[in-house]
Amino acid sequence: MAKHRVSATVNGDAVEFLCETQQTLLDVLRDELHLTGTKEGCGTGDCGACSVTVEGRLMCSCLMLGVEAAGKSIQTIEGMAQGEALHPLQRKFLEHAALQCGVCTPGFLIAARSLLERNPDPSEEEVRYGLAGNLCRCTGYHKIVEAVLDAAREMRGA
């Protein structure tokens, strides 16, 4: 089947790729652009491991087609750190031991950043509901919630 040629922006860089009609944005990121930081946990939008932002909006990249990315600006985990400087969320996850196997971590970081952009001073409950679209099987969520609340505090300058 003939492939489509698509132009988009990923983490601030212009990209161009070929993809089949049924390939998702997740497939494209991983298999065509070789950005494997975004993970597939379920392929049906239920686990959040494939979380990215598209035009600033939090999305499951497995629920979007590659062709739909044309002309759009996409942010993945690979773009979260600024050079050598980790984002406060990334630092807090490390300090609080908020990751174990790490496969859900990119999705959580993207989702948490998006949450804090919308709500810079969330309560514990707001963090838990705000991240309910991301599954973690290792941590029981305890240290993840602590890390996000601590990062929010730091980012507010509190």
Partner: protein, 766 residues
């Protein structure tokens, strides 16, 4: 000779602190590479064709149309794999049989579950591979199936294996059965024991299969060279065991297969078994190209091992002052398509928390038309402990004795004779009970429809074969090569901490890496809470060997006797009271000179670690039951667990919290739904409901340290035991909240509502 390294109490500088884990930065930046993140130039994509039937004879497979499709480079079926005779091998927790392994990875005579592989293809793209699967023509003769364990045990049940006769029954039966094995553990005189009881409570409990639920589906990449060498990258808890099993089923030399364990996205016991690996290797062999196989989430649910569903009966008798005098249990566990469930381990841990003179535990391993079960964190224990800790709760209540007090009256301790064999060594059960009772959670006030429940857990923990080596680099940094896969718990950090402690150097001067199968001697699977225990023991022995060599080298350089050299705080210095003084040498100084004074310095150890210490825990949970929806909310959760020694407390806490939340999911929502046709109806995370962040509160953890006398730092495994109590604790809490007693898992809203309705209409007594 087996290895046991004794515990020494000493002041610690690194062990017990909370440094950042060495794999952390790569994981928060997306740089860490899991199995599906690996690719090779020219690779093909492999896909598996799976049975749509729960039970059928496999009459014929025609792959010609698939092979003819442009882009398809290889197809494999049962004809491409040798038949294996019955041969058992230890695969950690669940002993496997190679005859069954080869049939589970690719069906031969029959298919035994919806999802059972019947063929696999490798093609130049995923879409072509999927199209090729549709072109494979398979002829099935559908047979009656059986899914429920009690149904499968009946004499007239459809039989899965005509050559399976119940093992452990005398005289040997001559009719095939779905009961693969029967086992009996006993001690004392049960009948006499029950005669002494003032109160006897007996109940039956039923649980459903639940999946380990790791977020990363299985994936592997295989590359076969024309000379028979194979490279395999795969997500596994045990690359040496995978190498052994793949080599066996593919009939190749072990040494020709190099397995690299990739970063693992969760295992919990479910990644102890080979699935796609032999298929990928065979496809690579046929196509002369690398083959990558990644499971979809649906395939993970349909075809990889869940834990057993079960039917258990528990009967306990005690005196009126709460002393247990007799205990009996029957455990009927589903093994899935092939024999070998965790019933063999659930039996010995059924009553082991208590000192009981008269015990009898009977276990049945039963094959049913579901995927072959795999281990899941303390395999079998959560199921039977649901039953036992619920009955204990009822006994305590009937006698108006505090639930923790009741357990204290009967608690096992050092020297207690178990009913499965040995006496217990030093353990921390009573400590966890006492600390739980004193915890503020235990006295906190409760509101309407709220209740508190308590339950306890015990797990044996294991040691097993372990190899490691370390090298002192020219600048005095140390590279530790481990063979125990870091299955996420942070054991890499703990190993590096123990090595840093041994050398007396800073934690960040030690770099731990996982070696592939070419780098080290055999290492057993990381399971059974053995990673930090056995891996740590090997790392410590490697460090001590290297330190011996360093002292030797300094003795030569400084021309003193070996006994005059003391190693302390990273420096070789004169031993107090030694014959000669000399200028001390730091690790870096010795290392810099090593090449010119005899060669680089390293240490290694190959052991079979003995002396694993059992772990105990006590859980307290508060719930609130919504009587309108049947939803159970977890208000507060506290874990008190004996871990021997917390090398890295944050990762120990992480194990306790993660295990408890898996237990909460198991209790409240997780289950497999099957249709009348035996096909799985909820193979995805939408309808297989695992806990999300909003389902649980913060989990309080209290670490108890009763050192294991058989580990240099006192480590007991800690990863498994906290998944055991939640189901019973929550059931007990629900009973205290609204007066209903649930004996089936999951305690999901429909089940709670039904029980509330029955109680209200007076149908049941709680």
């Amino acid at each position: 000779m087996s290895t046991m390294v004794k515990y020494e109490e000493k002041p610690l500088k690194v062990v017990g602190t909370r440094p950042i884990r060495p794999d952390g930065v790569d994981k928060v930046t997306g740089r860490a590479r899991f199995a599906a993140d690996y690719s090779l130039p020219g690779q093909l994509i492999g896909k598996v064709l799976r049975s749509p039937h729960a039970h059928a004879r496999l009459k014929s497979i025609d792959t010609s149309a698939a092979l003819a499709l442009p882009g398809v480079k290889a197809v494999v079926t049962r004809d491409d794999f040798a038949d294996m005779a019955s041969e058992f091998a230890a695969s950690g927790e669940l002993t496997i049989n190679f005859r069954d392994v080869t049939r589970n990875m690719m069906a031969r005579e029959k298919v035994f579950y919806d999802g059972h592989p019947v063929a696999a293809v490798a093609a130049t793209s995923e879409s072509i591979a999927r199209a090729a699967l549709k072109l494979i023509k398979v002829e099935y003769e559908v047979l009656p199936h059986v899914i429920d364990v009690v149904e499968a045990m009946k004499a007239d049940a459809p039989i899965l294996h005509e050559q399976q006769f119940t093992d452990g029954v005398t005289p040997k039966p001559d009719k095939p059965s779905n009961i693969a094995k029967r086992m009996v553990f006993a001690r004392g005189d049960l009948e006499a024991g029950f005669k002494q009881a003032d109160l006897i409570i007996e109940h039956e409990f039923n649980t459903k299969p639940v999946h380990q639920g790791y977020i990363e589906p299985q994936a592997c990449l295989a590359s076969y060279s024309e000379d028979g060498q194979v490279e395999l990258w795969t997500g596994t808890q045990g690359h040496f065991v995978f190498r052994a099993q793949c080599a066996k089923v593919l009939q190749m030399d072990t040494g020709k297969l190099r397995v690299t364990p990739t970063e693992l996205g969760g295992g919990f016991g479910g990644k102890n078994n080979i699935y796609g690996e032999p298929l990928a290797i065979a496809l690579s062999r046929k196509s002369q190209r690398p083959v990558k196989m990644v499971m979809t989430r649906e395939e993970v649910f349909r075809a990889t091992g869940p834990t057993s569903g079960a039917n258990v009966k528990v009967k306990i008798g005690c005196t009126k002052d709460g002393r247990i005098v007799a205990a009996e249990a029957e455990l009927n566990f589903q093994a899935g398509a092939f024999a070998g469930s965790s019933v063999g381990m659930a039996c010995p841990c059924t009553f082991t928390r208590y000192d009981i003179d008269n015990v009898r535990v009977v276990g049945h391993d039963v094959t049913v038309n579901r995927p072959k079960v795999a281990a899941y964190r303390a395999p079998g224990a959560p199921i039977i402990v649901f039953g036992v800790e619920s009955v204990i709760d009822e006994l305590a209540k009937a006698l108006a004795i505090d639930p923790i007090e009741f357990r204290l009256k009967n608690a096992a301790k050092e020297g207690t004779q178990t009913y499965y064999g040995p006496k217990l060594g030093p353990i921390g059960y009573i400590e966890t009970l006492t600390k739980a009772k004193a915890h503020p959670h235990y006295r906190a006030p409760l509101g309407p429809n709220q209740g508190r429940g308590v339950a306890t857990g015990f797990w044996f923990n294991i040691g097993m074969e372990t190899s490691s080596r370390l090298n002192v680099n020219e600048d005095g940094t140390v590279t530790l090569i481990m063979g125990t896969v870091d299955v996420a718990g942070g054991s890499r950090a703990s190993m590096a901490m123990m090595v840093a402690e041994e050398f007396g150097i800073a934690y960040d001067r030690v770099r731990p890496v996982i070696g592939d199968t070419n780098a080290l001697g055999f290492n057993f699977i990381t399971a059974g809470s053995r990673g930090t225990f056995a891996g740590g023991m090997a790392a410590v022995l490697s460090a001590r060997e290297a330190i011996g060599k360093l002292r030797q080298r300094v003795a030569q350089i400084r021309e003193v006797a070996l006994e005059d050299v003391l190693w302390k705080d990273g420096v070789a210095q004169p031993a107090p009271g030694g014959a000669k003084q000399f200028a001390p040498m730091t690790l870096a100084e010795i290392a810099r000179m090593a090449g010119k004074t005899g060669g680089s310095i390293s240490g290694q150890s190959e052991i079979n670690a003995q002396g694993a210490g059992p772990g105990f825990c006590t859980h307290i949970v508060d719930v609130e039951v919504d009587k309108q929806t049947g939803a159970v909310k977890i208000l507060r959760y506290t874990i008190v667990q004996d871990v021997g020694k917390a090398i890295h407390p944050a990762y120990v806490e992480g194990q306790m919290q993660g295990a408890a939340v898996q237990g909460i999911g198991w209790s409240l929502n997780e289950e497999y739904f099957y249709g009348a046709d035996g096909v799985l109806q909820n193979p995805g995370f939408l309808d297989y409901r695992v806990p999300v962040a909003s389902d649980v509160p913060f989990i309080d953890t209290v670490i108890v340290e009763v050192p294991n006398p058989n580990h240099p730092y006192g480590v007991r495994g800690c990863g498994e035991v906290s998944i055991i109590p939640p189901i019973a604790a929550i059931s007990n809490a629900i009973n205290n909240a609204v007066g209903i007693r649930l004996r089936n898992q999951p305690m999901s809203p429909p089940a709670v509502l039904k029980a509330l309705g029955e109680a209200a209409s007076g149908k049941t007594k709680s």
